[in-house]
């Protein structure tokens, strides 16, 4: 099971890095317009996250999913993929652990999947 986890982790991380790099180049090259112009960021990143959202009208929670046409939110989506890598690896591990008869470990892994899925869904932060 550890070998399978390592394989999934390797593949998912490589994909995450590649997508992040491409999305970042798209962002800073100006090939796709960002929601918040890059030139304005030095005046805005001194604000707290809440005041930044107020000042720019940037969405919180999952609202950014509807903004993927903008380079900055496309890049955010790419970065957010890193937050899904562990979830994917654990989700793959659960059936393997049950198949190996490791029920206690399987339930721990399942609980971790639920925690990560709830965090990703915004359950703890009103992100739905």
């Amino acid at each position: 099971m550890q070998a399978t986890y390592a394989r999934w982790l390797d593949a998912a991380t490589r994909v995450g890095f590649a997508i992040s790099l491409v999305a970042f180049l798209v962002y800073v090259s100006g090939a796709v317009e960002p929601f918040v112009p890059l030139e304005q960021l030095p005046q805005l990143w001194t604000l707290s996250a809440a005041r930044y959202a107020e000042a720019t009208g940037a969405p919180t929670g999952w609202g950014w999913l509807g903004m993927l046409g903008y380079a900055d939110f496309l890049n955010l989506a790419a970065v957010a993929l890193f937050g899904l890598v562990t979830l994917a690896c654990y989700a793959r591990s659960v059936p393997l652990l049950f198949a190996e008869g490791e029920r206690l470990q399987a339930f721990i892994a399942l609980a971790q999947v639920l925690v990560l899925a709830a965090a990703a869904a915004g359950f703890f932060t009103g992100g739905r």
């Binding site: 099971m1 550890q2 070998a3 986890y5 390592a6 394989r7 982790l9 991380t13 995450g16 890095f17 992040s20 790099l21 999305a23 970042f24 962002y27 800073v28 890059l38 030139e39 960021l41 030095p42 005046q43 990143w45 001194t46 604000l47 707290s48 996250a49 809440a50 930044y52 959202a53 940037a58 969405p59 919180t60 999952w62 900055d72 890049n75 955010l76 790419a78 970065v79 957010a80 890193f82 937050g83 899904l84 890598v85 562990t86 979830l87 591990s93 206690l104 470990q105 721990i108 892994a109 609980a111 971790q112 925690v115 990560l116 965090a119 990703a120 915004g122 703890f124 932060t125 992100g127």
Partner: protein
Amino acid sequence: MEVTAVPWWVWPIALAAVGFLIGVVAVLAGIGGGVLFVPIVGSFFPFHLDFVRGAGLLFALAGTLAAGPQLLRNGMASLRLVMPLGLAGSICSVAGAIVGLNMTADLLQALLGALVIAIAIVIWSTRSAEGGLVDPDALARMLKLEGKFTDPAAGTRIDWKTHRTLGGFAAFGAIGFLGGVFGLGAGFANVPALNLLMAAPLKVAVGSSGLIISIINSSAAWVYIHRGAVLPLLVVPAVLGVMLGSRLGARLLERVPAQLVRWLVIIVMLAAGVRALLRGTGLWI
């Protein structure tokens, strides 16, 4: 020149450079780079601490995800050990992230300063134990927190077991909470908790620590993402920088005296900690 008048593109380049240096130093000093990123960038860059902590979590997350596969393949990280402790840390890190995002920046900065100074002292004073065959407690037996790995340096196979499992859960709950509040990777605390408290061999503790950071930070990162506290312009250059720096650090590992680097890290952390403390208390803005 006002910092807001500096062109935007200067900052990602500066972050990539800082990430690179952190990558080199972190490998040489044997600590996670995440613990250096937030105090340094939070104290010496103009970004609000919300964005620095969001970037810090993803910075530590990306680094540990990249190292994870190799650590798992060579047996230095034990998934069996990581899973229950990571779950405790992960739940507490979400709580920590929510608490952190509801605190004022000044209070956070002052607390971060105090914490970073304390971490520098921990790094300075921590010694390692060999670990190995201890008498496992009932919970460790139930969770089968044991394993074996071959140490290529010594050419020996080591069978290991752990004990003090409840203490381990409490330690990783606290580590996860602090990691969530301050956006830190917590390798500095994971390794002593696994090695000194639970008696895992040092190499297994170091390897498993990275994997635990990847689990803990994944949960907390989502809280920051959903609250709008992640600016990709800060995250991606730092991540790319640290990846390149880590490679150079690994190459330099045999040539640079580890003790010298360790002292360098302690001095940098003390400087960043004092700066954060003074900034948070309003004594030096």
